[in-house]
Symmetry: C2
Subunit: 451 residues, 2 copies
């Protein structure tokens, strides 16, 4: 493999220019900025590494950019990335222009470099290096670039449905991200939690009133408080009937993996100013809860007067954002229906519930060939055992794109670091991590083709 690694090192400046090129094109889905231009750039860059590429429009959404390079064997590897990024605001907190992609102090600084243009481009560079050094790829590769990941992938399931033959069958899918943990070890994730994000709202009078009228006028803030208290008590057990019915217990292997996982509890507590973890848990029970238990989280609550001092007001409206992170095999649409039924059954039919986002959880078996191949690559390239986790607590469209159509998925090597500042000002990726990401992917083509 040394020939490949040497080539990548020799062309490191070219590859840095490629990541800068991708990051210099803004592509903010929330603000509808630069989406068409970025899709076009993706098609161009795919073409430059030899892929047959096209832009697939999605009615009412941002297009998917699709590329394919056919290989000599029947083995097919899908690669999922997204070309959209988060907004760059607040701009005044950036040390350099978020779309200048400046290289400074060993890092590339840009909105989207870690989430996830750096990964997207590294994989293209890996193909480039392979083809320059070895000629034809040893397997077929498909590139699936989404333009709506940062707004919850509202149209990806429809894309999969409409273009089923284009992306299946496949023997594996390298998921969008990947990176180092606090200890410098590469973390491989084999799954994602799902999400059911709901806005609850209640109304009282058609205006805020003097609080003395609380004797006779209903208070929408109290309505939401009582409804929420019926959903979950201080023991953290969610009380919605059927909520846990589809929750899978961890397998013996998963539990073993989890037990062996490093976990810096003390430094975590210290960093975030906490005395203890939730319910005073520790050790394996804490890890199990973290990875295999769903949540029910109040993300926001707004009602009435919240400024300094006192204002004696009876609010006319109240609103809550509720985020339920789901684990396999919970179904977000079903969970939403169970929530609605719970509210109705408990006398809260007056409370409106709106589903703002729904994503299925997804999980790949830890012994899938793609996972094994990725672990081998990490050992070879970094000289250490990767931290392989069955699930990460974040969410994404892994279910429709992989699990639902029988494709194992795992995150890629290299790229992110614990200080990458994803979604925040001064997002960055270390140049070395980026280069290693290219190398890791090039090694994977070989390793997976031999599996």
């Amino acid at each position: 493999m040394q020939d490949l690694l040497d080539y990548i090192d020799a062309h490191r400046d070219d590859y840095i220019r490629q990541i800068q090129r991708a990051c210099q094109q803004p592509s903010i889905s929330t603000q509808d900025i630069g989406i068409a231009e970025m899709a076009e750039l993706c098609r161009t860059m795919l073409g430059e590494v030899g892929a047959e590429a096209r832009i697939i429009p999605l009615e009412g959404g941002n297009p998917v950019v699709f590329g394919q390079i056919d290989g000599p064997s029947k083995l097919i590897l899908n690669i999922y990335n997204h070309y959209d990024v988060q907004p760059a605001e607040p701009l005044d907190l950036w040390a350099s222009d978020p779309f200048a992609a400046e290289v400074r102090e060993g890092r590339i600084w840009a909105r989207g470099v870690a989430d996830n243009k750096g990964h997207l481009v590294a994989r293209l560079c890996a193909v480039d290096a392979w083809r320059k050094v070895r000629g034809d790829l040893p397997l077929t590769i498909r590139f699936i670039y989404e333009g709506e990941e940062e707004i919850g992938s509202p149209n990806l399931e429809r894309f999969v449905h409409d273009h089923h033959a284009l992306i299946t069958p496949a023997d594996g899918c390298v998921w969008e991200g990947g990176g180092r943990d606090f200890n410098g070890r590469i973390r491989l994730s084999c799954g994602l939690k799902g999400i059911c994000y709901v806005e609850l709202s209640a109304r009282g009078a058609n205006t805020d009133m003097h609080s003395s009228r609380a004797t006779i006028v209903p208070n929408p803030a109290w309505r939401l408080i009582w409804a929420l208290a019926s959903l979950k008590g201080p023991d953290e057990r969610v009380l919605i009937d059927g909520f846990y019915d589809r929750v899978l217990a961890p397998t013996a292997e998963e539990e073993e993996v989890l037990a062996a996982l490093p976990f810096e509890g003390e430094s975590f507590l210290q960093t975030f100013g906490l005395d203890q973890f939730l319910l005073n848990l520790d050790g394996l029970p804490l890890k199990l809860k973290d990875m295999f238990q769903p949540t029910c989280t109040v993300c926001g609550f707004e009602s009435g007067y919240t400024g300094p001092g006192l204002k004696t007001v009876l609010p006319g409206a109240a609103m809550v954002k509720l985020d339920m992170r789901l684990v396999p095999d919970q179904d977000p649409q079903e969970i939403f229906q169970l929530l609605r039924a719970h509210l109705d059954r408990h006398g809260f039919g007056d409370i409106e519930a709106r589903l703002l986002a729904a994503e299925h959880p997804a999980k790949t078996a830890l012994d899938a060939p793609l996972v094994r191949a990725m672990q081998t690559v990490v050992r070879e390239l970094y000289g250490h055992e990767p931290v392989t986790v069955p699930l990460t607590p974040g969410s994404g469209p892994m279910y429709p794109l992989c699990q639902a159509i029988g494709i194992p998925a795992v995150s890629g090597p290299g790229g992110g670091n614990p200080d990458s500042k994803i979604h925040a000002p001064n997002e960055n990726m270390f140049v070395e991590d980026y280069i290693n990401g290219i190398k890791g992917m090039a090694l994977l083509f070989d390793e997976f083709a031999r599996s």
Copy 2:
């Protein structure tokens, strides 16, 4: 009495100039604007009607203006008003300058004219008229003008303590306001609810976090929700041990008065866009709850992300404003201690509770001589039976200034109207209501002196 009434009518333009003079001097306690100037003007105006007047400084607060006119009998009547007003903002919603005190369409338009400079000045004009027509007043009158009513009278209890001999004994106290109800009938109020206003706050991590961490990191919004749900359930019964211990049941007379009270339920519901009153109450039970039951009201709740769409955040902090309106003989300090004890006993020792305002409820017997005298004056002047209520749901310093030192209190005649827009833009008082307020007070001197 016709001589007095005729004199007042003949000098109506002079008296309108007096109310304009008082309203043209801003005196906004919250913003510390014009307080010293207004106190000085009060002293001047008191002197002009023959009172011995002085400004009594209150350390760390706005001064009380005190005046006295001795009469021939031992009978003493206190008059309570406040010379401070609410801020005038939002200024762009006023049809004329809030401190121009323009007379237009039969009304005087000014910040503070209804709350409560119009009442303050009407009472001075009543003294003026009496003295011009009759010579010496038939009783001793004391004027107690507070400069901090609009910020919760934080120093009035101390004033009463330090100047006890100045304001006691007294046979009655005419309270600050008074006015017409929706049916045009004069409303006399014999009491006020108390208040215990508390800010509750909870803390989680030292920053908002990604909501996926809700598996292991405590959520302060949930802490407050659970704590609040332990305070009151959907049946509206407050669950704090001892909360109701001092609540006085209404007397048979009070209940009778209440049963006879007009109540425009349908128009109230329609105006405020409601289908029904709280707990679907109606008739006497609704009136009893309104007047004689304390409340526990969430005035505001703030935590996490409350903007449009979704943000998956685990809040680092949560805050609630809680307003408890108290009825005789609840004690706000004791209620605050009971609340703290309740939180501690129910596992919410981590929730901080700050007392932002505390006022005792106060109530005068409906058959007190001052109440009877005021009713007689209303019948004589307006030709109708006043609506006499045992309590109004608002609050004020009636307890320290009257009830605690054994002085019966009742609101005055005339002045306010249901569209007076107190605390709001375009505050106003009808000129006729103002003039009637002068007449009513002049008649009261006579009526009360004969009681």
